[in-house]
Amino acid sequence: MDAAHIRNFSIIAHIDHGKTTLSDRLLHRTGTVATRDMEDQLLDAMDLERERGITIKAHPVTMLYTAKNGEEYELNLIDTPGHVDFAYEVSRSLSACEGALLIVDAAQGVEAQTVANVHLAMKQNLHIIPIINKIDLPHANIPMARQQLEDILAIPGDDAILASAKEGIGIEEILEAIVARIPAPKINPLETFQALIFDSYFDTYKGVVILVRVTAGELRPGMHVKMLHSGRSVEIKEVGSFNPKPYTRAKLENGETGYITANIKTPREVKVGDTITDPRNPSEELPGFQEIQPMVYSGIYPINTADFEGLKVAISKLQLNDSALTFQTESSAALGFGFRCGFLGLLHMEIVQERLRREFDMDIIATYPSVIYRVKLTGGVVKEVDNPAFLPDVTYIEQIEEPIVKAFVICPGENLGDIMGLISEKRGVIKNTETLDTRRVMLTCRIPMNEILIDFHDRIKSITRGYGSMDYEQAGYEVSDMVKLDMLVNNEPMDAFSSLVHRSKAENRGRTLAAKLKEVIPRQQFQIAIQGAIGGKIIARETISAMRKDVTAKCYGGDISRKRKLLEKQKEGKKRMKSIGSVEIPQEAFIEVLKTN
């Protein structure tokens, strides 16, 4: 197809505002799929994605549409991951587009997630077509939605198309707007060919399937191509598009999106954002490439130590389709052998853990997550630390910087006070408060990322009884008074519970942990001290009193065998216990505390 008749676009929407329904409508209206099969979610493939209403893998769908002007257009809908954890992937997908449909629920209005994604699209200079969806709802408030588009997103409200994806209202108009308002791909006057890799997935038969947007020339099977950042040269085996199932094509031309395969077995060699070009006559690299960097780390351990190998296989398999996930072996005195895993963000972390449990049936426990700190040593060297265990000795530390995010929180006006309280409890600074409509306010704030790792989102949801929403974007690093909190049992540190915390939070956390540990560590024949310590300073202490006896009961002939078996069982149980500071601690105790963390 000539570039003038190609349109590449994506859809930006908050969860449940109707992205899936609208996509299905578009596929149906353009005849790409004959009937809408309710069970077969067309774009969101994984169960987990479906449940959580998010897309992790972006699949482009190619539709042919004959416009009112009588001409046929190739419309490529590039579905983007719906969460900021995947902000980089989102940005690469968006950079494969010239435009985006922005869906706003006529009854709900603009939500936090919409704000963050619109900001990303604007950074990519995409043409945005606002759509006010669900106008069929009785409590739809179109003027409010228009007003919010202007006030919050600076998008002219009058440009909005009124639609009901459910009722099929406005679909035609949307398709026409895609053709009319979204620019055609630029004709690139290059002597060579060039394409952007905006995603990839692993197929057992074909190897890595690379999703590409051609930015110059064309791609055909048999061509030798080079990926500039990974440095790898390969021969294209197959090219094609999705409808939404993959189908092969003779070639992908300038401006088109689709996939290529090249018998690549190692997904890590295919980097999102990389440039594909002619090895003999290479083009420039496309702008915006980044190596994917995990933002959050956590240890994942098998609950049953014998499952270590199985866990390794499971994580490796996950990684085939999720090259953003990193892992390496680590060991803990308390939990045995496991893996230090790196994630793009919190949601990514949760998804990986949940997939390990569900799809691979692994019984796992995760340690307290950590962000990456920049530790400046005396002498100027800067070290990145994602595991408190590797924090250099304090005497060598000049300062510690922690990552900050810019967070958008939208909540009903009546919860404003509580939300502000939560933000300040989380060491956040509110930068801006905007009234969205009669009911809602949006707070923009800067918050240390480590504060939102655990329960920030849950607490917003519970304060607002589900009406609040939250999103964030990375906002650099700031110097911070971070300390390493160690938990000690009879003066020996329990590595699984060490964490880097802000000084103002250390005491509280130390106390809470000490109290929980007191509950789960069994009494022994001597007194046990559980302490929280910063450096040498004890900031929390609990004592488990000594057991004064274990037997004053009788035991005669008939009891001997039974009693021996009981002792045998205890002895076997001890083998599975970790001895820390001569205190025997069952692994379950650690797990119990980590779970409630």
Partner: protein
């Protein structure tokens, strides 16, 4: 300490036995336990195998018991016999006569220590005299408490008065070796009640005292009440009751010889029953020899439903099901539910663990001759050094024993000293419900 002057009973081998001894046939077993699985009413805390008797079950039991005694008689020449339960005193005079005369016929009577457990509610003068006449010379009375409220709480069928009356009956019948069983840390028992019970129990002037903390066994009503939060376990209270007991018992002239057992040590009273290969040094004269045998790992036959035995390396247990047990014996077979043989190392570990429950501990040499392994060897060295360091064990030239502090942690010590067989070499477990029986040697 044992002074001189008391009568020692030697178990003379009869000519037939002597002949057996000269050939390769092993020594006869010197200990016999008989389980009587009937109680008038089930106590709240009880996990023993016993049930109220119905129909003619006791009659059939007695018949089967005689059969089981016949099956083991050739290998058994008991120095100690113990009738436990259940409530052995529930058998009628006639039933006792049947059992005791069968024992006489089978060469199982005449044991120098012959104990029968009695419930204070079921001791009559006739029965006491009959038992005494048939060679029973030791009675163990299940008193548990002398507080009416607690007796009721525990579901005991007797009153405090019955205890005093039964005691007199036993003395009148000529029993000069009587044990009193008491329990402490009973839910609702205050230190004052415990002290009162001790005062009255000690005033009885029994020769032996068994005192133990209430045990919460699964599947008992008391356990369920505990689980349901009806009361809480107060460890500190249990400890102080134990301490109080030790003081009071000592002051009353009792010598503690095991975690839960006290006995008088007198130069004048009763015969000293010797146990083959067991040194009785440091063990009071009125200690229950039968139980000493268990703790020192002697072979012992066990007959009756649910009874355990340890005979020539094989530990086994009868079915805890009276009907099943009777049916099997009526077919001429013992009714074994399970049997296991431990490796020498595991067996030695078990003997170390249980032997150290006794204050006298283990003489190094006796342990070595009996088990073929030495507690002074590398196998246990590190464990024992650690235990000595903790202050729980003391080692002398001749003995290894628990310290007073160690006695409180006998279970922890046992856990350290036992040795677990990876896969028990000859563990045999009859599949549930099949009635196949192990052919006993």
């Amino acid at each position: 300490m044992r002074g001189g002057g008391h009568t020692r009973v030697r178990i003379e081998l009869n000519p037939q036995e002597r002949a057996l001894k000269l050939s390769t046939v092993p020594e006869p077993v010197r200990s016999l336990y008989v389980h009587v699985p009937f109680c008038a009413h089930k106590c709240e805390y009880c996990a023993f195998y016993s049930a109220p008797p119905s129909g003619g079950v006791i009659e059939r039991y007695v018949g089967a018991l005689v059969k089981e005694l016949e099956l083991i008689a050739a290998e058994c020449r008991p120095s100690t016999v113990f009738f436990g339960g259940g409530t052995p005193s529930l058998l009628t005079l006639k039933q006792w006569e049947t059992v005791l005369s069968a024992m006489a016929r089978l060469g199982l009577s005449g044991a120098p220590e012959f104990s029968v457990e009695c419930n204070p509610a079921t001791v009559s003068a006739d029965k006491a005299r009959l038992l005494r006449d048939h060679g029973v010379n030791r009675i163990s009375m299940g008193v548990q408490s002398l507080d009416e409220g607690l007796l009721e709480r525990l579901g005991r069928v007797h009153t405090r008065d019955m205890v005093f009356r039964s005691f007199d009956v036993l003395r009148a019948a000529g029993f000069s070796n009587v044990n009193v069983d008491l329990m402490f840390a009973i839910p609702g028992q205050t230190p004052e009640i415990w002290d009162q019970t001790l005062t009255e129990a000690l005033a009885l002037g029994s020769e032996h005292l068994s005192c133990y903390e209430v045990i919460y066994e699964e599947d008992t009503p008391l356990y369920q009440q505990l689980q349901a939060g009806a009361f809480a376990v107060d460890e500190a209270l249990a400890c102080s009751m134990y301490d109080h007991l030790r003081e009071r018992a000592a002051a009353a002239g009792f010598q503690q010889y095991e975690v839960a057992n006290w006995a008088r040590n007198s130069a004048t009273a009763g015969p000293v029953v010797e146990l083959p290969g067991v040194s009785l040094a440091g063990i009071p004269s009125h200690a229950c020899r039968h139980n000493v045998g268990y703790w020192r790992g002697l072979d012992s036959f066990g007959v009756g439903p649910s009874a355990s035995e340890y005979v020539r390396g094989l530990r086994s247990r009868n079915w805890a099901n009276t009907d099943l047990w009777i049916t099997q014996l009526e077919r001429g077979r013992r009714a074994k539910e399970f049997a296991e043989a431990l490796s020498p190392r595991a067996r030695a570990g078990e003997m170390a663990a249980f032997g150290l429950r006794m204050n006298a501990g283990w003489p190094w040499e006796e342990f070595r001759t009996r088990t073929g392994l030495d507690l002074r060897d590398a196998e246990w060295r590190e464990d024992l050094v650690g235990l000595v360091r903790r202050g729980w064990v003391e080692e002398t030239e001749t003995h290894v024993r628990l310290t007073p502090q160690g006695l409180r942690f006998a279970d922890a010590v046992g856990e350290i000293l036992i040795r677990v067989d990876e896969a028990p070499p000859e563990a045999v477990r009859a599949p549930a419900r099949t009635l196949r029986l192990e052919a006993m040697p």
